[in-house]
Symmetry: C2
């Protein structure tokens, strides 16, 4: 089966996010005073072959842990793991 998954990588709470702060400053200077906080992260969309959904989730989690995130600074989350016709 072909699967598609999205991995979100976000900084852990308390880790400084200078890009988020810079965007927040720009948001305010554009006049959007209603915005209170901006946090930045990374997104990865993977297409893969796997026996079933559990096997696909395992592979995606391993790749996210080993390669896509820095476990000291970042948390990751796998979402939208879907069987895919087009992948």
């Amino acid at each position: 089966m072909k699967y598609e998954a999205v991995v979100e990588v976000l900084l852990k709470d308390g880790v400084s996010d200078p890009e988020g702060v810079a965007i927040m400053d720009a948001v305010i200077s554009l006049g959007y005073g209603s915005v209170q906080r901006v946090a930045t992260g990374k997104l990865f969309r993977l297409h893969l072959q796997a026996e079933d959904e559990n096997a696909a989730a395992d592979v995606v989690s391993q790749i996210a842990e080993q390669l896509l995130s820095n476990p000291v600074l970042e948390d990751f989350r796998v979402r939208d793991l879907l069987a895919s016709a087009s992948a």
Copy 2:
């Protein structure tokens, strides 16, 4: 009301994604031969005040268009727009 929203920014189809290619190479060299493609993107989590969900969605879309994405190269999508107690 307080709202929280996630903006996903992904490269348009056909735009080269050297980071995705590099990750794909690393995925293969780690032995995950079942992976066929990796695409990279950016993620932004915004906390904001708004009258209602439509107003919040408007502000988030405007910020995504003006500040968070490059319309020549990237597409954005607003998701998980939720009323938030903690924001």
